[in-house]
Amino acid sequence: MKFNLKLNLIIGSFLLTSINAEAKEFNGGADMTILTPVSKVLAQPENYYVIPTTIMGTVVKVCQKRGCWMQLASDKAYETLTIKVPDGKMVFPMADMGKTAYATGVLNAIELTLAQTNQRLKSQDKPSVTEPMTLYRFSPTGVTIVD
């Protein structure tokens, strides 16, 4: 009985302490050899729908609840690109805001209707438009976050 209790305490404390170690790589990490600036990816998005590339940027926003997306600052002013993974595939910690993230993957284009576009702009306190917009999301296969 005493032995079992000790064993449980050892296993439990090992698990709880090991999770404090910061996970810097997700799914094997990013491929640093194919780095492309976010501004270049967003300027010619069609080039990155199939061929994987690696983007880099400061983490400026993270999904608070499930950690399933994070927003990276572009090298161009006011521009960002959101990287999104299916729930649970990778979990990005909120504590990583302000760190630099590298993500390898492909770009996805989401065509919004005019109503969806204006609804989105309204929620951001921006004026409505007459043309629907395309939303870009980056789907990563590997991510590396450095401080």
Partner: protein, 164 residues
């Protein structure tokens, strides 16, 4: 182990109503002359002094023309120069619940995957073997089969109702 999955299961089911991973607090501070100071070279140390913050600024980013974001450890400073306002957003991981959710969602991967798989197999064994422990009239093939069927019926009912 059962408690880890049960407690975090409830926490994760209700994460849209209550963030069980992080305690996020926002504090607003009015600072005079912010719009003037933001263009000066000593702006960042001056701002940290005004806010009584001792952290090191890790990164900075203009979110839009009116919002400048500064990142220090576990805090984001939203600087709104036109309003002479700084909003401090602090993120604190919740004690224990964050760790339980971490394990439940298998963020650890590696050895934890195998360890939790082993536990799951043991639960499967427990569930299946318990059905055949009692022989005779009170066995699972007698009247008590209703209890087993009820166990299958509840999740099946939800699937039929919600997934159809």
């Amino acid at each position: 182990m059962t408690l880890i999955f049960a407690i975090s299961g409830i926490a994760l089911n209700h994460i849209h109503q209550w963030n069980s991973n992080y305690d996020v607090t926002q504090t607003k501070v009015k600072i005079a002359l912010l719009a003037t100071k933001i263009n000066q070279t000593d702006f960042e140390p001056w701002l940290l002094t005004q806010l009584n913050e001792s952290g090191i600024i890790k990164a900075r980013f203009w979110q839009d023309k009116d919002t400048y974001k500064l990142f220090i450890k576990n805090k984001t400073l939203f600087v709104l120069p036109k309003q002479n306002l700084v909003m401090i957003e602090e993120v604190k991981p919740r004690v224990l619940l964050r760790q339980l959710n971490f394990l439940h969602l298998n963020e650890a991967k590696k050895a934890w995957t195998w360890f939790s798989d082993l536990y799951a197999f043991m639960l499967i064994f427990l569930a299946l073997s318990s059905m055949f422990m009692i022989k005779g009239k009170r066995s699972v093939f007698g009247k008590r089969s209703i209890i087993v069927l009820a166990g299958f019926a509840a999740p099946a009912g939800f699937v039929i109702y919600y997934a159809s």
